[in-house]
């Protein structure tokens, strides 16, 4: 069964430093991977996704993620963290729901990012 794991409940980083939020996946077949961000008391906002092609995917707000097939990882990165990046970050993988093989997203447990001034 498809799944994603976010091993860190929280990541702390100083403003201006690079940040990484980790995600590993387990899928049968080619993985379709997503990152979403949830700001306090808000809905989820799409950041980026990997379907195929270049392993480095660029997304919104200066975020990028690197798909690594050998390590089954899709870590989210940003070169320079901002206090405004404080939020909950979710990694997700596409799964197919029978009987029509409908796309659905399986989410990780989320990682809270804290950026200190």
């Amino acid at each position: 069964a498809q799944s994603v794991a976010q091993p860190e409940d929280q990541v702390n980083v100083a403003e201006g430093n690079p940040l990484t939020v980790k995600c590993t996946y387990s899928v049968s077949g080619n993985p379709y991977l997503f990152w979403y961000v949830q700001y306090p008391n808000r809905g989820l906002q799409f950041l980026l996704k990997y379907i195929t092609g270049d392993n480095l995917v660029k997304g919104s707000y200066g975020f990028e993620a690197e798909f690594n097939k050998s390590q089954t990882s899709f870590h989210l990165k940003k070169p320079s963290a901002l206090v405004s990046d404080c939020a909950l970050y979710f990694c997700a993988v596409r799964a197919l729901h029978p009987p029509y093989n409908t796309d659905k997203l399986i989410f990780g447990t989320g990682t809270r990012l804290q950026v200190f001034p």
Partner: protein, 115 residues
């Protein structure tokens, strides 16, 4: 303009009551979803509709009944509310693409508290 909107934003009610949450998308998408986010922020899909047809029902209790009057709207009715139904409910929409992997766009959420 809000792409995916939900009403109400907050809902506080007593156990045993029946309540509805409404969702509308103006993106022209053909697929809509309901997700539940529990107190630990864990997100799980509940239902999905494509062009008003139910295509995903993720073993949700019968007390939950989605209804899609047209492809721009997906409502969620909950009967006999229980304490464990307290959560944030998110609506989402997407447009089916060949090969899959379409992006889902989420609404702001409805915070349900059952007392």
């Amino acid at each position: 303009d809000t792409a995916v909107s939900q009403t109400p934003k907050y809902l506080v009610t007593q156990m045993g009551n029946d309540k509805s949450i409404k969702c509308e998308q103006n993106l022209g998408h053909d697929t809509m979803y309901w997700y539940k986010q529990d107190s630990k922020k864990f997100l799980k899909i509940m239902f999905s509709y494509n062009n008003k047809e139910l295509i995903i029902n993720e073993t949700v209790p019968n007390r939950f009944s989605p209804k899609s009057p047209d492809k721009a709207h997906l409502n969620l009715h909950i009967n006999s509310l229980e304490l464990g139904d307290s959560a944030v409910y998110f609506c989402a929409s997407s447009q089916v693409q060949a090969g899959g992997g379409e992006t889902q766009y989420f609404g702001p959420g409805t915070r349900l508290l059952v007392l």
